[in-house]
């Protein structure tokens, strides 16, 4: 039975954004909508829920069990939202009202009166691996006393019991959580509370927009599993929006891939992962870094995503496709069926890509024995919170070392200590023989030795300076001999020299990160710290940037201290890895050794939560 039926959905604002999307979600089915940033996937979801931002209009048809939602009156939409269609958003930090407790969030989402015969039985405890314990029978939602059918009002006790039951459904057994405020909860807990609130009125369809993107790997895994269990127990339809193919394949029955505002491929996730039927999907799959093999070359997709309005009459991917010919630009290829329930918008069969060969594990030639950076017993606490509890590590000259850990592990604090942005409480940092812990920071020479590529591409460049002046200023901070010009720096990171005149807002995320890398390399540092430089980039771009960092490291002999939560990235780019857990090093060694045969429990847990690379 089709629950949600989307046909020919088109969203236009000043430009065309979503172009004729067809999508169906049946009851009890999880459908993944995958795409990179700007593909229109989130706006598709918002159009379905009737929550398009001002200035955008949707045409086509969206029906929920036969009820047309597009163009429906606000009153109709209000009766549908929450009650029949629920939304789960990305950011667990912004999604909850900081002034309301978790319990209040759920209580206010509950239906106005208790529904005695709940359409959905409480989750079967056996279905949840997280020890979901339904509240004891005495506390379960009291049926209306006396008269049987007539729903009565909530009482304080029944409401409270219902809230606790809902929390238990999302794996929170501790009743005290209901009385806590969002700031007292971790990201994963917040996402659970938000899920409980979204499910409070027992919707038939849940739209989850990047529900795990802001979470740590292990938490992400838990929430995904929770989502799956809840979906199965309730027989609910789920539309999962994600940029992560691995997440979609792991969780979804069917996957639809969006590109430049349209669907390019759809089908069962399992088949798609095995044999992609569209070159774009194939490209995305090839760009995925793997946590199990070290590849000799990371391949992104060349070029960038076009605007939906510019490619209406042609295959949207033709300009970036390796096997495109004149046919592809003649007209827009229809979404054709190639097997039952399997569609592609490509005219041809996809040539299998030669999977890049695993890299022969050759540690860098460079004299890794010679120590460049030595950190000893580094401690830093913020109030009662211990960020670093005595961390020691060393980076050899020309070596690439990964620092892995989840948020709160202290990895960023470590980087900031080395950069001099944070003063450690105790310990010693020695870089190329200079003591960086003292106030003078190596006689003011530290900035020529160590530079950093920061995480967020939206803020890493000064928006009011042109790329050229940013780079020129950075280069002027280095030693005069061997100074690189702006054009040389841009060339180094694979950007045309004409980009010098641009301002950051005219660049894509990947291009900004390239400029940020060029800025960091402008002083020819001996050590480059990378703090999650690709965490907020799309997969295809991520591969380009990683490959760039890898080659630059090799060519210039720059040592890398690579900070990340992503084990697959570590695998591709580092020689040695240090695993941080709550401010302490728990494991350290050659990257391949650590990922293939982890010794510490925490490392194993991290590894287990990496979604399998297809």
């Amino acid at each position: 039975m089709t629950l949600l039926d989307v046909t020919g959905l088109t969203v236009t604002g000043r430009h065309l954004i979503v172009d004729g999307v067809d999508l169906a979600v049946s009851a009890g089915e999880t459908v993944g909508l995958v795409g990179e940033s700007g593909s229109g996937k989130s706006l598709t979801a918002r159009a379905v829920a009737g929550l398009l931002p001002k200035g955008l209009t949707a045409t086509g048809s969206v029906t929920l069990s036969g009820l047309e939602l597009l163009g429906a009156r606000e009153r109709v939409l209000r009766s549908v939202r929450g009650a029949r269609v629920a939304l789960l958003m990305q950011d667990p930090f912004a999604m909850l009202n900081p002034l309301c407790t978790a319990g209040v969030h759920i209580a206010e989402s509950l239906p106005r009166s208790p529904r005695p015969p709940s359409p959905f039985p409480p989750t079967d405890p056996g279905a949840s691996p997280f020890g979901t314990v339904p509240a004891d029978p005495g506390a379960s939602p009291a049926l209306p006393q006396g008269s049987g059918a007539a729903p009565t009002r909530w009482t304080r006790a029944t409401r409270r019991a219902e809230v606790l039951r809902r929390l238990a459904e999302v794996g929170i057994d501790d009743p005290s959580v209901a009385d806590r405020y969002p700031f007292q909860l971790s990201g994963g807990m917040r996402q659970r509370v938000a899920l409980a609130a979204a499910l409070a009125r027992d919707p038939e369809l849940l739209i989850a927009d990047e529900p795990t993107t802001a979470l740590d790997a292990t938490t992400q895994h838990e929430i995904l599993m929770l989502l799956r269990n809840v979906q199965r127990a309730r027989g609910m339809g789920v539309l999962l929006i994600t940029h992560d193919l691995r997440v979609a394949f792991e969780l979804c029955d069917r996957v639809a891939v969006m590109y430049a505002g349209r669907l390019v491929e759809s089908g069962p996730g399992f088949d798609m992962a095995k044999v992609p039927a569209h070159p774009y999907t194939a490209g995305l799959l090839a760009a995925l870094p793997s946590a199990t093999v070290t590849l000799s070359r990371l391949e992104g997709i060349p070029g960038g995503v076009p605007a939906a309005g510019d490619v209406t009459g042609t295959c949207a991917f033709a300009a970036r496709c390796g096997q495109a010919d004149s046919e592809c630009t003649q007209e827009r290829p229809p979404l054709r069926e190639i097997a039952p329930d399997r569609h592609t918008a490509c005219l041809y069969e996809v040539r299998p890509r030669p999977r890049a060969e695993p890299r022969a594990v050759t540690p860098r030639e460079a004299s890794a024995d010679e120590t460049l950076l030595r950190i000893e017993g580094l401690r830093k606490r913020y109030g009662g919170h211990v960020a670093l509890g005595g961390v020691s590590l060393r980076v050899g000259r020309g070596e690439s070392v990964g620092v892995v850990g989840e948020s709160g592990s202290g990895k960023t604090t470590l980087a900031r200590c080395v950069l001099g942005l944070v003063t450690p409480d105790e310990g010693r940092i020695e870089l190329a023989g200079l003591d960086l812990t003292r106030r003078a920071r190596g006689g003011g020479q530290a900035h020529r030795l160590v530079q950093c590529v920061f995480q967020d591409p939206t803020t890493s460049l000064n928006p009011s300076l042109t790329v050229g002046s940013t780079l020129a200023e950075a280069a002027a901070q280095g030693t005069p001999e061997g100074r690189l010009s702006v054009a040389e720096l841009l060339d180094l990171v694979g950007l045309p020299a004409s980009y010098a005149a641009r301002r950051p807002r005219a660049l894509s995320g990947g291009q900004r990160q390239r400029v940020a890398i060029a800025r960091a390399l402008a002083v020819r540092p001996a050590l480059l710290i990378c703090d999650e430089p690709v965490a907020s980039l799309d997969v295809s771009v991520q591969a380009h940037v990683l490959e760039l960092l890898r080659t630059i490291g090799r060519e210039l002999g720059t040592s890398l201290l690579f900070i990340t939560h992503d084990l697959a990235v570590v695998r591709q780019i580092t020689d040695r890895t240090v695993v941080l857990f709550r401010g302490d090093v728990v494991e350290e060694g050659e990257t391949a050794r650590i990922l293939d045969a982890p010794a510490h429990d925490y490392t194993r847990r991290l590894l287990a939560s990496v979604p399998p690379t297809p």
Binding site: R448, C452, S460, E473, A516
Partner: protein, 264 residues
């Protein structure tokens, strides 16, 4: 809309600079026989009770009506921007000291201080302008400081620090352009506040000797003539309102365009 605002302010600036040359009559020339009469072909806005041409006096007064506020706005903006940047970037004791001083300044009744300053020191607007620039600064310091604190945490500011740039360079070359929309809008607002307050002071008879062609003073001197020639008192008020609201609205517009152009 923006064109209209700019035109109004440009005209005002033109009159402020060349007003006394444009005036058809000597603003001080009296015609006691004529007395206060309404608008005519010879006197567009009529005359006041001493027979002085209101239009000429308006033009002649434009200079002091706008020059002093411009000085106040300049002084306040330079002071508050540099101090705000310093406090927000340095934090620590610099910030603590500055913020306590700001708290202290907030506790002072501004208009009263001005009246006392003028009353005690006398001698025209000079001291009043200085006092007003100092009085308007604390509020703007707070705004600039909070914006600076938000900017300094961003990756580009940290990158600048990592590059070993001098603090002054980071503050003025990196942070300042990104808070410029607020600085510009703030400067225009200071101008408006100063203009209205100074007019208010001269309405109270403080600051300028009687008889000076000044808008605030004209309202005070001519408010008894509302039946004979209402324009003598109303015209300066209309001009003050027009210029003040144009400057406020322009500040608002500029803030929007600059924010869109600069950062995103």
């Amino acid at each position: 809309m923006k064109g209209v605002l700019v035109t109004v302010l440009a005209l005002a600036a033109l009159v402020a600079v060349g007003g006394s040359h444009l005036a058809p009559y000597d603003p001080a020339a009296q015609d006691l026989a004529l007395g206060a009469v309404g608008p005519s072909a010879a006197h567009w806005l009529g005359t006041d009770d001493l027979g002085r041409d209101v239009f000429s006096r308006l033009l002649a007064g434009a200079g002091s009506a706008m020059l002093w506020p411009v000085l106040v706005a300049l002084g306040t903006t330079v002071l508050s921007t540099s101090l705000g940047l310093l406090a927000g970037y340095r934090l620590g004791w610099v910030d603590a000291l500055m913020m306590r001083a700001v708290d202290l300044a907030f506790a002072m009744p501004g208009m009263l201080v001005l009246i006392v300053v003028i009353g005690v020191l006398g001698g025209g607007y000079g001291w009043a302008v200085l006092a007003m620039a100092v009085l308007l600064t604390p509020g703007d310091i707070r705004v600039i400081r909070s914006l600076t604190m938000a900017q300094r945490e961003l990756a580009y500011a940290e990158a600048a620090k990592t590059l070993g740039l001098r603090p002054s360079r980071i503050m003025f070359r990196h942070l300042l352009p990104n808070i410029a929309p607020t600085v510009v809008a703030g400067a225009l607002l200071s101008f408006v506040v100063a203009m209205v307050s100074l007019a208010g002071l001269s309405f109270l008879g403080l600051g300028l000797p009687a008889g000076t062609p000044d808008w605030g003073l004209m309202v005070e001197e001519n408010r008894d003539l509302l039946d004979l020639n209402p324009w003598a008192a109303v015209a300066p008020v209309v001009l003050l309102t027009l210029i003040a609201s144009s400057a406020t609205l322009l500040g608002d517009r500029l803030f929007d365009t600059l924010s869109k152009g600069g950062s995103r």
